[in-house]
């Protein structure tokens, strides 16, 4: 028996190899399925337009989308600006509103979570404002702040602000009492307890809020640009609609999607960097 324990028999080796092969085969198979599925989707789409099942006036084929995309890289027609300008306009706007929201929202949420009196004083206002979707603020903020950048940045700020505050707040509230007591019994002042324990403990949840806020900010940006803008990705797709150019709309939509995804990825990279202590379950 001890002989056997040191050496793997050929039978075992064989069946292990078979198992490993099966696994690799399955992975290849899944990849194939994904590829085929995407190709079928694109072909059906192309076919639907080419065969005239869908009027090409209202929906364009994927090849056309690629063409328009390449053209939009350098050509400001038909919506007034090249793609790059739209992207930069939108990004600048979203970053202003979003960063302001994070910078104000996260500390506010942390403090609300830690200081009871402050919490009771601020929470009710928050609960009243919270259920109103940021988009509903658009007309009011345009009346108050004009059609310029300020109004749009304000709406984006609102959209991002709420999740930042709420998640930071919840994070502090969920700090286990044990940790607080450890800090208190080792003689930390109230502020020190907050800074060293609660703030750290709340960080992962606060980051979830920051992530949600980014998604909110990005989609609110599109909404505000749809309603009032002269450049930006939302404006681009709105123009596409007025000019009946589905290709422009789809290029705009995909760009919005891709940039949103890139921003989200960057943020989660940053999160992994900042919140190292959290175990990835």
């Amino acid at each position: 028996m001890s002989d056997n324990s040191k050496q793997i028999s050929t039978e075992t080796a064989n069946s292990i190899q078979i198992e490993a092969k099966a696994k690799r085969r399955e992975a290849r198979q899944l990849l194939l399925i994904s590829t085929v599925s995407v190709l079928v989707f694109l072909c059906l789409w192309e076919l639907a337009v080419r065969a005239g099942w869908i009027d090409s006036k209202y929906l364009c084929a994927p090849t056309m989308v690629v063409e328009t995309f390449l053209q939009k890289l350098t050509d400001p027609k038909p919506d007034g600006a090249v793609l790059g300008v739209h992207i930069i306009t939108s990004l600048r706007l979203v970053l202003v509103g979003y960063l302001t929201a994070v910078i104000i929202g996260v500390p506010l949420g942390l403090i609300m979570g830690y200081y009871h009196t402050f919490d009771k004083l601020v929470s009710p206002i928050f609960e009243i404002v919270r259920p109103i979707p940021p988009i509903a603020w658009i007309p009011l903020s345009i009346i108050w702040l004009g059609v310029g950048t300020t109004a749009k940045a304000f709406i984006i700020f609102l959209a991002a602000f709420v999740p930042c505050v709420i998640n930071s707040y919840t994070g502090v509230k969920l700090t286990p009492v044990v940790y607080l007591n450890v800090a208190k019994t080792s003689g930390a002042s109230n502020w020190e307890v907050f800074w060293t324990v609660s703030r750290n403990y709340a960080m992962p949840l606060a980051f979830t809020g920051i992530q949600v806020a980014l998604g909110n900010a990005w989609s609110t940006l599109v909404a505000s640009e749809l309603l009032a803008a002269t450049a930006g990705l939302g404006y681009m797709i709105q123009q596409g609609r007025s000019l009946v150019r589905p290709d422009v709309i789809i290029v705009g939509m995909l760009t919005i999607g891709v940039i949103g995804a890139i921003l989200t990825t960057l943020l989660s990279k940053l999160e992994n960097h900042v919140v190292k202590w959290r175990s990835r379950a």
């Binding site: 899944l30 009771k120 259920p131 979707p133 988009i135 009346i143 749809l226 797709i237 609609r241």
Partner: protein, 257 residues
């Protein structure tokens, strides 16, 4: 005794906070009532709205118009989202086939679909419901999928030991285990759907709360905008409160942790 004292103090603080909000509103709005109607003017506008319909639709009618769109879209999103999500979570091949397309579409905010949907389907009732559906479908399908894929192995083992077939496995083990995740998805879908319906109505509609906001903007009736916003907030809050009740009913078995 001490607890009671804290409670009264908290209530006082909350009341103080709301009173403060109203006071600030008063002070700011008093200087430019056209630009920013006072609380009184807003309430008056609400009463006038109840008495005098806009576009021949009573205020309740507008609320119901928005609600109807959201509810229809939600039902469709729940049926399709839970169904597809269940299959995607359960079967790797189905997931491999559908996931890439979903992943490509998911980062596009539902609002960015508005121009294309209007171009394709015009400005009737269907495109609005479709838009809300897009907003509601993704959170439901994603949550259902991950809920099903993350069912605890031990529960699956119990099913296997007792030789459950696939239908039994889904009914007795997978579906109930994924229920909390599914409901969380629906909860996100409700608030997302409510936001999208407002946006869709603001862009093209002749009824609904989003339409009221837009009407207020077009006729420079700021009080109407505020009334509509408040209503949107109240109905949205009610929607999520009702759902929380349903959630508690369906997932009462969950232990609080």
């Amino acid at each position: 005794m001490k607890k009671n004292q804290i409670k009264t103090r908290d209530m006082l603080l909350s009341a103080l906070s709301i009173l403060g909000l109203i006071a600030v509103w008063f002070l700011v709005s008093n200087s430019k009532p056209d630009f920013f109607p006072t609380p009184m003017a807003t309430i008056e506008r609400l009463i006038r709205l109840i008495e005098k319909p806009v576009m021949k639709i009573s205020i309740l009618g507008h609320v119901l118009a928005s609600l109807k769109r959201v509810v229809l879209a939600l039902i469709a999103a729940i049926i399709l989202g839970v169904g597809i999500g269940l299959f995607m979570g359960w079967n790797k091949k189905v997931r491999a086939a559908i996931n890439p397309i979903l992943m490509a579409l998911r980062p596009i905010p539902p609002i960015a679909w508005i121009p294309l949907i209007i171009l394709l389907f015009g400005i009737g009732e269907f495109p609005k419901v479709l838009l809300v559906f897009i907003g509601a479908f993704f959170p439901i399908v994603m949550n259902t999928m991950s809920g099903v894929a993350l069912v605890e192995d031990m529960y699956l083992k119990v099913g296997k030991i007792y030789k459950a077939n696939t239908a039994q496995m889904l009914r007795h083990v997978v579906f109930p285990a994924a229920m909390p995740a599914i409901l969380a998805g629906i909860k996100i879908a409700i608030s997302s759907g409510w936001m999208v319906v407002v946006a869709a109505e603001m862009l093209s509609s002749k009824s609904g709360l989003g339409f009221l906001i837009n009407r207020g903007r077009d006729s420079y009736d700021v009080a109407l905008i505020m009334v509509a916003m408040i209503l949107i907030g109240v109905v949205g809050a009610l929607l999520s409160a009702v759902f929380t009740l349903i959630e508690r009913k369906l997932c009462g078995w969950m232990s609080k942790e």
